[in-house]
């Protein structure tokens, strides 16, 4: 005898929708009505309505389809009640016959038949007319589906700051007529994608490098960035760079637990316990890195993912294919000058040809303002000097780097290295 499956619990379904699909619902409403506030309010109305009716009538077959048509009608009701809103939306040529079919009919639609408008949201949130810091807050809020409080927590910013940012950005979108859509012009689409990918990578870096605060790796934020990268990759399955970015983030995240020790002091690559690397993430990352590299249109994220994959495949530092790493950095430099990439290339060169060559390559970069302010540049020079047995110079360079480093993990790392030099 087969036991019939128990009906899904409305509360559980709604919680899952809120976590995973609310941003999709909001994106669809924004696409339809062109107004962020209205979309959010209407989505909220639909959730409330679901909370009231699902326990009574049962969970519809496609919760998202039900919510979408309920929210569309809720939005139209709001427009009808509010003259100011109606006037604003009149420009969007809203018509009454656009009223969605009854939710019961719409529920017959599978979620797969619903358009996914999140790409439009991603591209709209990363419009060049929006300030870069605001792009990140908008993206976390409207694509990541985080509440303002969650965005504040993730970015370690006071809630009023985040609210002010979101309000300013929303006002700008409405006031300046910034379209929340995928640009029609293919050239503009090409230009917009890197802005989207850069914003996602900044979310990840924010979590990974902890530019403020003392927690060296903020897992929630890196996980959120990976989720955004997955969404983007899923929306643009044939493009190299979204795949490359996802690969890069996975490979970087895989090494996260080995990157700092129990005291929160960063551990250099050569001393990391590779047994702590997350094998599953590494495997997926490497597979995706390879796939990205084989696609047309490979750019900086794909190349960086390839570099991360070379590191992931090596069982130890000496087993790393440094010639390959140097070649990949050269490719990266071919895309545009970047002092930090030059520095990384110099470090890789030192691994390939020995510390004397590495030091020469690093010394050749002295005087570049961006690197003179960059703590890792001085740390690399100091450590290379120490490797060459030039301990006095190493000590002086590392001490200067420590003075340059703000309070936090980098400074603790340099402190530990200086103590080690003194002990030898």
């Amino acid at each position: 005898m087969t036991v019939p499956e128990p009906p899904p619990d409305p509360g559980d379904v709604l919680a899952r929708v809120r976590r995973e699909e609310l941003s999709r619902l909001v994106a669809t409403l924004v696409r339809r009505f062109g107004d962020l506030d209205l979309a959010e309010d209407a989505a909220q109305d639909a959730m409330v309505s679901a909370l009231r009716t699902w326990p009574r009538d049962g969970v519809p077959r496609s919760p998202l389809a039900w919510l979408t048509s309920t929210a569309r009608n809720a939005a139209l009701d709001r427009v009808r009640r509010d003259d100011g809103l109606a006037r604003r939306l009149a420009e969007l040529h809203l018509r009454e016959q656009d009223r969605a079919p009854d939710p019961a009919d719409a529920a017959a639609l599978a979620a797969d038949d619903l358009p996914d408008d999140r790409l439009a949201m991603l591209m709209g949130c990363c419009h060049p007319a929006i300030a870069p810091a605001d792009r990140i807050a908008l993206m976390l809020r409207f694509v990541g589906g985080l509440s303002s409080a969650e965005v504040a927590q993730a970015l370690l910013l006071p809630l009023p700051t985040v609210q002010a940012r979101l309000t300013r950005a929303k006002k700008r979108i409405a006031g300046a007529g910034i379209p929340l859509e995928v640009p029609e012009d293919p050239a503009e689409r090409e230009r917009r994608l890197p802005l989207v990918l850069t914003a996602i990578s900044l979310v990840f870096t924010e979590g990974y490098a902890a530019s403020h605060g003392d927690a060296p790796i903020r897992r929630e934020l890196t996980a959120e960035a990976i989720r955004l990268a997955r969404i983007t990759q899923g929306l643009l399955p044939g493009a190299a760079e979204p795949e490359g970015l996802l690969a890069l983030l996975l490979l970087t995240e895989a090494r996260a637990s080995a990157r700092v020790d129990a005291e929160g002091v960063p551990v250099s690559l050569e001393e990391q316990d590779r047994g702590l690397w997350d094998r599953e993430l590494l495997a997926e990352g490497s597979r995706r890195a390879e796939r990205a590299a084989a696609m047309p249109g490979a750019g900086r994220f794909t190349i960086q993912a390839a570099i991360a994959a070379v590191h992931a495949e090596a069982t130890d530092l000496s087993g790393t294919d440094w010639a390959q790493v140097v070649a990949l950095y050269d490719l990266l430099l071919g895309l545009g000058e970047d002092p930090v990439v030059r520095m990384n290339r110099a470090i890789a060169l030192g691994r390939r040809d020995g510390p004397a060559s590495g030091l020469a390559a690093l010394d050749a970069l002295r005087g570049i303002a961006e690197l003179e302010r960059h703590v890792p540049f001085h740390a690399a020079r100091g450590l290379t000097l120490a490797e060459l047995g030039r301990e006095e110079e190493a000590r002086a360079v590392l001490a200067a780097a420590r003075e340059l480093a703000p309070e936090g993990p980098d400074r603790r790392f340099l402190q530990a290295r200086l103590r080690r030099l003194d002990a030898d």
Binding site: G175, G177, I178, P179, E188
Partner: protein, 116 residues
Amino acid sequence: MKYVLLLMGNLSDDRCGETEDAPGVEEFIAFDAALEEAGVLRGGFALTDPEEGTSVTRASRDAEAVVTAGPYAESREFVGGTIVIEVDTLDAALGWAARCPGAIGGRVEVRPLLDI
């Protein structure tokens, strides 16, 4: 939406027509014709050199008006002309700004008109 394209010049830059790359009058006329043909042109005007300008300021509501020759001395940037267009989105306005001859070696500031 209505947007104004503010064609900004800079006092420290070369004057119009003095460099080879600088856009000529014909280009502005052609741009105007393109806007007209697309049906988006809603107005605008060209201005004489900023030195021709005269500034009037009152420090407060009760203060006397002070008249000075020329533009505000500290400001290097000046408005050389304006074009008002009506298009659906900022992207469309930015597209026109990118085609505007005033953007070459200068700056075109795109501002939505306040709807009153």
